[in-house]
């Protein structure tokens, strides 16, 4: 790996030298460039407006996340193809009991401002993120760490942190700096996959400069990654340039990456067709129809399964008792023709789901949903009759109208209507925020669409946050003691294979209760101009910048 990095650096230097000398043609003598393309140069990539300031602990969406992934390296790096975690900034992560972890940080890593990365940079950043009054979006990732509860605001009303609501502690008791390059983490309960989680953006280290002026840092973050941020021109572009000091194993090939900010993907796609933009990270629906993008961008497109799952969740039983019977739920699930909807509405850019866990993670097992997720209208109708028919007057399927979900929810409802003979209406809710608020306040009746993008590549991330009793994203208030028990056992298991098998057993229980209907696994489709080569999609649906180069 190290060797490769060095040849790339040499190639980059020679390319720069050629440019400087104004020498275009006679480069055949010292042709050190690899066959797939040359290093150096600059590319433009589709970007969108980050929702929050660019602080890793405060970014939970892809617009800012795509940028921060390049600016910040983490303790753990996920493999681009398999999402398998491997140590990056961590020298070692050790534990005996899945509860007390000792993390050693590699020496000699520098932030973009020249300061050295030390253990305290992690501890300070994590404490800052977990401290309630700071309002960091990714604060909940630190929930497993001991002392998290004491850092949360306890008050009510508009400002829960005012007066008596102020947290009783400012630092996590579970974090301790041992020496400059070593720190320890103690979790409240056993967590078998903590090392896997550490590659998520929320766990990145922050330099001292952040604590001096968090606001200025949010506009121009200082990280440790292969690229450093040069400028964020609001609403226009974000410019990254290569970090010359980067010593890690995942350096990029190009010298400069510019994220051009678009409001919609259609104009970006047209810019790629005209070679005005190099990479577009999704394909608009108009070009997906009949695989139009494949003839628009021949040999210049790619598709890959990513860690996303689309589901349909039933409202909690106390909100809407009509869907309480698991037989009714299974009948509705069986009445959905996932294959045809995928083909006609999504143009095969999804994969019909056969379980609750994405195939990209370690521990995935196919067909966990069994026959409940196989389209069979006769059996569905028979099952509904067996359950005594549907009690309400019509089935409703709600969706957020701002996310392109209208088509597939309508098609899903048509499928249910035709198979079960019960009227089904897809109901749009004006935007995502309103939609989620109605679910959170338990005002949404019937069924509603839910989706989950993995935070870190682990089977646990698809089960615990979504379906464990009282979990943060358990929208249907599902509660099954046996399921919870298996998850706890899995979290405490020291052997990875054993943990995975326990998680799989837990997942298998879901087929009997059907708390959610699995719909689709996600895929990401990208296209690029004829100036670049080597564009690969990671398991997270992002561009693998270690491979992209100019032709």
């Amino acid at each position: 790996m190290r060797g490769t990095t060095r040849t790339v650096a040499v190639a980059a230097m020679s390319a720069v030298a050629l440019l400087a000398a104004g020498c275009g043609g006679g480069s055949s003598d010292d042709n050190t460039t690899p066959a797939e393309g040359q290093a150096g140069g600059e590319i433009t990539v589709f970007g969108c407006n980050p929702q929050n300031p660019l602080v890793p602990q405060n970014t939970g969406e892809t617009c800012g996340g795509d940028v921060l992934d390049q600016v910040f390296s983490k303790l753990v790096h996920y493999d681009a193809d398999t999402a398998k975690p491997e140590n990056d900034q961590a020298e070692s992560i050790e534990t005996e009991d899945n509860q007390n972890f000792t993390i050693k940080v590699k020496q000699g890593i520098k932030f973009h401002d020249g300061t050295e990365l030390k253990a305290k940079n992690f501890v300070d950043a994590w404490n800052y993120a977990a401290y309630g009054p700071n309002g960091m979006y990714n604060g909940y990732f630190f929930e497993p760490v001991e002392g998290f509860g004491d850092l949360q605001c306890t008050g009510d009303g508009d400002d829960p942190c005012a007066g008596d609501g102020k947290p009783s502690a400012e630092t996590l008791t579970g974090l301790a700096v041992v020496d400059d390059y070593t720190f320890t983490v103690k979790t409240t309960e056993k967590v078998s996959n903590l090392p896997v989680r550490l590659g998520y953006t929320a766990f990145a280290a922050l330099p001292d400069a952040f604590f001096a002026d968090p606001e200025a840092f949010g506009d121009k973050p200082i990280g440790t990654g292969p690229y450093k941020l040069d400028a964020w021109n609001k609403e226009q572009s974000i410019v990254l340039s290569k970090n010359a000091d980067y010593a890690g194993d995942w350096a990029g090939k190009v010298d400069k990456i510019t994220f051009k900010i678009y409001q919609e993907v259609d104009p970006a796609y047209n810019d790629v067709l005209a070679n005005n933009l190099d990479i577009v990270t999704s394909i608009p629906a108009s070009a997906l129809i009949d695989d139009k993008y494949k003839s628009d961008l021949p040999e210049r497109n790619a598709q890959k399964e990513t860690g996303v799952i689309q589901t349909i969740t039933f409202a909690p039983t106390k909100v809407d008792p009509n869907y309480a019977d698991p037989k009714v739920r299974a009948a509705i699930s069986m009445a959905i023709d996932r294959e045809t909807i995928n083909q006609q509405i999504f143009n095969n850019t999804r994969v019909p789901a056969t379980g609750w866990v994405s195939p990209v993670v370690d521990g995935y097992k196919a067909d966990q949903c069994g026959e409940n997720c196989v389209y069979d209208p006769e059996k569905a109708k028979a099952l509904l009759d067996e359950a005594g028919g549907f009690k309400g007057d019509k089935i409703t399927l709600s969706y957020n109208a701002d996310g392109g979900h209208k088509e597939w929810t309508e098609a899903t409802c048509n499928s249910i209507k035709q198979a079960l003979g019960v009227d089904c209406v897809a109901t749009g809710v004006v935007d995502f925020a309103t939609f989620r608020a109605q679910i959170g306040d338990e005002k949404m009746k019937g069924m509603f669409r839910t989706g989950w993008q993995m935070d870190y590549p682990s089977i646990e991330n698809f089960l615990a946050p979504l379906l464990k009793t009282g979990a943060s994203s358990n929208d249907g208030n599902y509660s099954n003691p046996e399921f919870d028990k298996l998850l706890d056992q899995a979290a405490a298991a020291t052997d990875e294979a054993e943990a995975n098998s326990l998680y799989q057993q837990a997942e298998a229980l879901l087929a009997a209760d059907m708390p959610q209907i699995p719909m689709y696994y996600g895929k990401t489709t990208m296209g690029w101009s004829d100036k670049v080569t080597g564009v690969k999609i990671t398991a997270f649906g992002t561009v693998d910048y270690t491979q992209v180069s100019l032709k």
């Binding site: 070009a287 209406v425 897809a426």
Partner: protein, 310 residues
């Protein structure tokens, strides 16, 4: 001629009243004679008749349920089992086009009736009363006139309560209300100016001098002679309101599924512009023809009512 009208008939606004043909003819019968010889009128009338039939009795034209989807045949081309092909959801486009007429015709008719009633009444009051009443009503009209139709309708429709989405008629009604609220000032202005034009005429003064009440003066003497321009503009506007309804539905704030409207269908077909344009073509064609029919009718009526054009 207008004086003769007043002298001869008490119901001159009836367009079918042709009994007094001969030496003395009413304005309406005169217009009707002119229109009968205008092919434009017959073409547009025939088209409107077809669209009205579609709106009232869609089952005359198709037996297919417009909400029955055959997803497996989604985006199939015309002729592959259906006349106009199928759309993204697999609905029969021909059936959707037929059923979509109802929303457009209803919105067009209701809005025109509404603007004529509101705008006409306010225009007559302003024109006849004059003075501060005129100033007040005209300024109120200016306020609404200043709001751009589409922009205003978007704000209006978005802020309406959920109640209006309860049934089909209410959904249609909310679009009508939005368009009437923003559309009446142009007709009020028109009416006001024609009333002011007619008011100083001798026959009006005579009627007033004889002690006729304002209502009688307006009803029998002013209205029949000031109505012509409004009829023309209202007919042409009917087409424009149909287009406005489609625009609002296209933007997703007018009619909403499961209601069927050409605007909704055009909006959902737009993704196929480069690949399966027939999904977009047919609803657009129906919309264009309906708008064209009413605008052509308005043209024919104007030719007939405006003596200068003869």
């Amino acid at each position: 001629m207008t004086e003769a009208t007043v002298a001869e008939t008490t119901a001159p606004s009836d367009p079918h009243d042709t009994s007094d043909e001969g030496e003395v003819r009413s304005l309406a019968s005169d217009a009707w004679r002119a229109m009968r010889h205008n092919p434009l009128f017959w073409v547009s009338a025939a088209m409107i008749l077809v669209f009205v039939l579609m709106a009232a009795f869609p089952s005359l034209f198709t037996r297919t349920d417009p909400n029955f989807a055959v997803l497996a045949e989604s985006r199939s081309k015309p002729g592959e089992g259906t006349w106009f092909g199928r759309d993204l959801q697999g609905y029969d486009i021909y059936a959707r086009c037929i059923y979509g007429a109802r929303a457009s015709i209803l919105v067009g008719l209701f809005t025109t009736t509404g603007t004529v009633l509101v705008g006409g009444t306010i225009g007559i009051i302003a024109g006849y009363m004059g003075g501060w009443v005129d100033s007040l009503l005209s300024r109120i009209g200016d306020v609404f006139f200043a709001i751009p139709l589409l922009l205003g309708a978007i704000i209006f429709l978005v802020s309406l309560p959920e109640f209006f989405n309860n049934n089909y008629l209410l959904v249609v009604l909310k679009v009508v209300v939005a368009l009437v609220v923003l559309g009446w000032p142009s007709l009020a202005r028109l009416m006001r100016s024609s009333v002011i034009q007619v008011k100083p005429n001798d026959y009006v003064q005579a009627a007033r001098a004889l002690g006729a009440s304002p209502l009688r003066v307006i009803g029998s003497h002013i209205l029949p002679n000031a109505l012509a321009p409004m009829i023309v503009v209202a007919t042409i506007n009917l087409g424009a309101y149909i287009a406005a309804e489609a625009t609002l539905s296209f933007l997703g704030i007018g009619l909403q599924a499961p209601a069927i409207s050409w605007g909704i269908d055009i909006s959902s077909a737009i993704v196929g512009l480069r690949t399966t344009p027939h999904m977009l073509f047919f609803p657009s064609l129906f919309l264009s023809l309906a708008v064209l029919a009413f605008i052509m009718l308005g043209d024919a009526v104007r030719d007939a009512l405006d003596p200068k054009n003869r």
